[in-house]
């Protein structure tokens, strides 16, 4: 079976079904789509599923009912969003998955949806670990891991990527791995507690920058010197994180850019023009550390 085609025209009715808006990253992503809309000729319908995969499917349903031409979907979960992809295809709407993908065992790019635009969460975790292994100069790395929302796919993948890579280096040991729910305040509280239970910690790996910043605050409150006696590695590349790197409090953050609007526009135009789209339009994530943080802080969100 073929993918639905997209005709070339002036304006498109475009659906963007955001999954939630409870963190700066998501907000920046939504904003990026809104900002792109005018330039790209989109009549944008943006919905918000408030963190529920089920509602996200229902949102897509209501967009299908409204007769959108294209769907951009950051699926909250790998499996539960498959029906949304299938329904869109059945309705003749080409779908692009954004920043997360769905279970490839059931819904395939090039067949059920056009392509996946985004980074590789496992790779992000992996690269954070790589940087750590290259730049850590002690002989014993005692790691605390601050996980994202329990059960969410970025949390699972970033953990897997990091754990797998770090296992290869026996200088490191992960002594505690607890969820901070991707939030700064919880990241701080969890770090405060873990620091008490494991005072010898000298590495913190956080699944996002918000928790990393929280961890830095916890360390400072406890009289530790983040950046000097504790190395902090994280993912996202927010402005606060880059500032922390510049200030020497944080080691590295692996970029996970939320600015998908322009890319989405570009890929959609190409698809409409009949070009073949690769199954995975990979976003090249940069790595921000001491050497380049200052150069990029102005473009960060």
């Amino acid at each position: 079976q073929d993918l639905p085609q997209l005709e070339q025209k002036e304006r498109y009715k475009v659906g963007f079904a955001q999954m939630e808006s409870n963190n700066p990253w998501r907000i920046a992503e939504t904003k990026s789509f809104h900002d792109t809309a005018e330039a790209c000729g989109w009549d944008l319908i943006a919905t918000d599923a408030a963190g529920s995969a089920a509602k996200q499917v229902a949102d897509v349903d209501s967009m299908i009912a409204q007769g959108i031409d294209v769907l951009f979907l950051p699926p909250r979960e790998e499996k539960p969003l498959i029906p949304a992809v299938m329904k869109a295809r059945a309705a003749g709407i080409p779908t692009f998955l954004v920043d997360r993908s769905v279970d490839p065992a059931v819904a395939k790019p090039g067949e059920h949806f056009v392509a996946f635009l985004g980074s590789d969460f496992i790779d992000q975790g992996n690269r954070a670990a790589q940087w750590l292994m290259e730049n850590f100069d002690g002989d014993q790395g005692v790691i605390v891991q601050l996980e994202g929302t329990t059960g969410s796919s970025p949390a699972n993948d970033r953990k897997k990527g990091f754990d797998d890579a770090i296992a290869a280096d026996d200088r490191f040991e992960i002594v505690a791995s607890q969820t901070g729910d991707f939030a700064r305040d919880l990241g701080r509280q969890v770090m405060e507690t873990l620091l008490q239970a494991h005072p010898d910690v000298n590495v913190v790996y956080a699944h996002n920058d918000e928790m990393a910043i929280g961890a830095i605050q916890a360390l400072e409150l406890a009289g530790r010197k983040p950046g000097e006696d504790v190395t902090i590695v994280s993912i996202d590349g927010t402005r606060d994180a880059l500032q922390a790197i510049i200030d020497g409090k944080m080691g590295v953050t692996v970029e996970s850019s939320p600015f998908f609007g322009p890319l989405a526009c570009e890929v959609m135009k190409k698809y409409a023009a009949g070009e073949t789209i690769p199954e995975w339009v990979k976003v090249e994530d940069r790595v921000f550390a001491k050497d380049n943080a200052a150069d990029h802080i102005d473009e960060a969100y």
Partner: protein, 332 residues
């Protein structure tokens, strides 16, 4: 003869003015949508809307029974998530196994609630709050904190995605059946009447020799079972058991019940009006999505929260006026 029927209708409307309000509000909102948006009344929107809301209706029905006894069940959302995982695990054996299995799991949590409330005498709010945490934890444990794919090969996904008689999604048929049965249970069975009596006055019900504990256990088991049904819809409609779903479902279910005119203190309540309440609250999302497609304003996620709160405020205000009037008729 003629006179008497006319009088009865008036009496009926007077006694059920809260239900009448919610139906009017629902129809008004539908009419508003039909007039303002293209495709709002399309079969696709209609059936996908009902299909999605079938879960919430199922939960609200169970909640309605609990609330009519003067209790509350905060655990329904987490239990639905838990049972969706159970259903996903059982899906290879087909719906005939997965549905009873998941419902049974839900009933199990209902039994825990009932035990804590009836035997340990823990207030329902606290008991079900604890079960909410436990069910969420349990869902994550049994799923290994992953969404669990259903078996797409078995007949399991028919329930959530297939159409009954090629017309309606199965979920709607099931929920309609459930509504009917529960309506009958409430209006025409001893246990239904006992539920209402308990809400009216538990002491009096005890002294009247009603089987109070049995009825209380029944409502919590029922609520758990309804959450189980919702869990099955969740798994089969979305192709996965989802341990993280269900957050806040208990509050929307409570809101549906109250918007339907049921007193939170118990003793009075209506099944159809609860369904209408659930539909009304669900429809707000649908309308907001369509409004966002108008191109005039695009409501951000936070504006949507404000609008939903405002809408709930308006309906509750209206409802509280109506109920106050009714109570005034009732004296004191």
């Amino acid at each position: 003869m003629l006179d008497e029927t006319a009088f009865d209708l008036r009496k009926h409307l007077r006694r059920n003015s809260a239900s009448v309000t919610v139906w009017i509000a629902l129809l008004t909102l539908i009419l508003f949508g039909l007039m303002r948006y293209d495709n709002f009344g399309s079969a696709y929107n209609f059936s996908s809307f009902l299909n999605y809301n079938a879960m919430f209706i199922a939960i609200a029905l169970g909640m309605c029974f609990v609330i009519m006894t003067g209790g509350i069940d905060l655990s329904v959302g987490s239990v639905a998530a838990f049972t969706s995982v159970v259903a996903a695990y059982l899906s290879p054996y087909g719906i005939q196994v997965a549905l009873p299995g998941a419902v049974l799991a839900g009933v199990g949590f209902g039994a825990i609630n009932a035990f804590c409330i009836i035997i340990l005498r823990i207030p329902p709010f606290i008991a079900t709050l604890a079960t909410m945490l436990a069910a969420k934890g349990g869902a994550l444990v049994i799923s290994g904190a992953q969404t669990i794919s259903v078996d797409w090969g078995s007949n399991f996904t028919k329930l959530g995605m297939g159409q009954a008689f090629g017309l309606f999604p199965w979920a709607i048929v099931i929920v309609a059946g459930l509504t009917l049965v529960l309506w009958l249970v409430l209006e025409r069975t001893t246990i239904g009447r006992t539920v209402l009596a308990i809400g009216g006055s538990e002491d009096a019900s005890n002294l009247m020799g009603l089987k109070v504990n049995r009825a209380k256990a029944f409502v919590y088991l029922l609520s758990g079972g309804c959450a189980g049904v919702a869990g099955v819809f969740l798994a089969s409609g979305f192709g996965a058991g989802q341990p993280l779903e269900g957050i806040g479902w208990e509050l929307s279910a409570i809101a549906s019940v109250v918007v339907g005119g049921t007193l939170l203190t118990g003793g009075m309540g209506s099944i159809p009006a609860t369904v209408a309440g659930a539909l009304l609250l669900g429809l707000v999302f649908n309308v907001l999505n369509f409004e966002n497609g108008q191109g005039t304003i695009s409501f951000s996620a936070y504006w949507q929260m404000v609008i939903r709160g405002g809408f709930l405020f308006a309906v509750i205000l209206l409802q509280s006026r109506v109920i106050a009037k009714q109570q005034k008729v009732l004296g004191s």
